[in-house]
Amino acid sequence: MNFITTRAIVPEAFFLMKADPASGALSTFFGIVRNHHQGRAVKSLYYECYVSMANRSILRIRTDLMARYGLANLYVLHRIGHLEVGETALAVAALSAHRAEAFAACEETVERIKRETPIWKKEFFSDGSEEWVRCGHQAAAQAEHLR
């Protein structure tokens, strides 16, 4: 399965999915490029990915969470490449019989992708500077996972 795209993500498309008569809840999350980071004005972002490993990582997360929460479906799409402020970088939609499972699975999917999936983000600031975002605590969590 492919969860990575270089094309624009259209949030509306996630609300037009085929209805599942046994599912009473659809919880969605959209990660959108914002115009600031730690007090600095952001102009745009660039996402880079280890595509084959990212697909495996997201498939593992999806399989885990679909089983744990008994979901009817779990949609994940992460965009890579250059994104402008306001564009959607990540879309997650969890479909389940009841709302509690859909809410929880949606949140956990996003958290696990941020923690486990090899996707990097470069911020382009309005002052012309640029910077790869590094998060030490995430590395610590991953290192812990290996012990």
Binding site: E48, H78, V110
Partner: protein, 76 residues
């Protein structure tokens, strides 16, 4: 033996390459390859054939070794 090395993000920029081949006369551990390349970043992670591995992992012929800086996906 030959191992394929993959670089992403800041490491790709640093090495001006997204991949390289490395020939080895004797089998090496992941951490030895990292040291040879001068990679001693705190929090650096390693993946062999798309799975995270400990730094002490011994490489096999035709393995793909990726160097992964701490990740940050998503936007929110």
């Amino acid at each position: 033996m030959r191992v394929k090395l993959l670089f992403f993000a800041s490491l790709r920029e640093r090495f001006s390459a997204s991949e390289k081949n490395m020939e080895m006369d004797v089998p090496m551990r992941v951490e030895e390859v990292a040291k040879t390349l001068g990679l001693e970043e705190p929090g650096l992670l390693f993946a062999v054939n798309e799975e995270l591995v400990p730094a002490g992992t011994m490489l096999q012929d035709r393995d793909t070794l990726a160097f992964l800086m701490p990740v940050s996906g998503g936007a929110a």
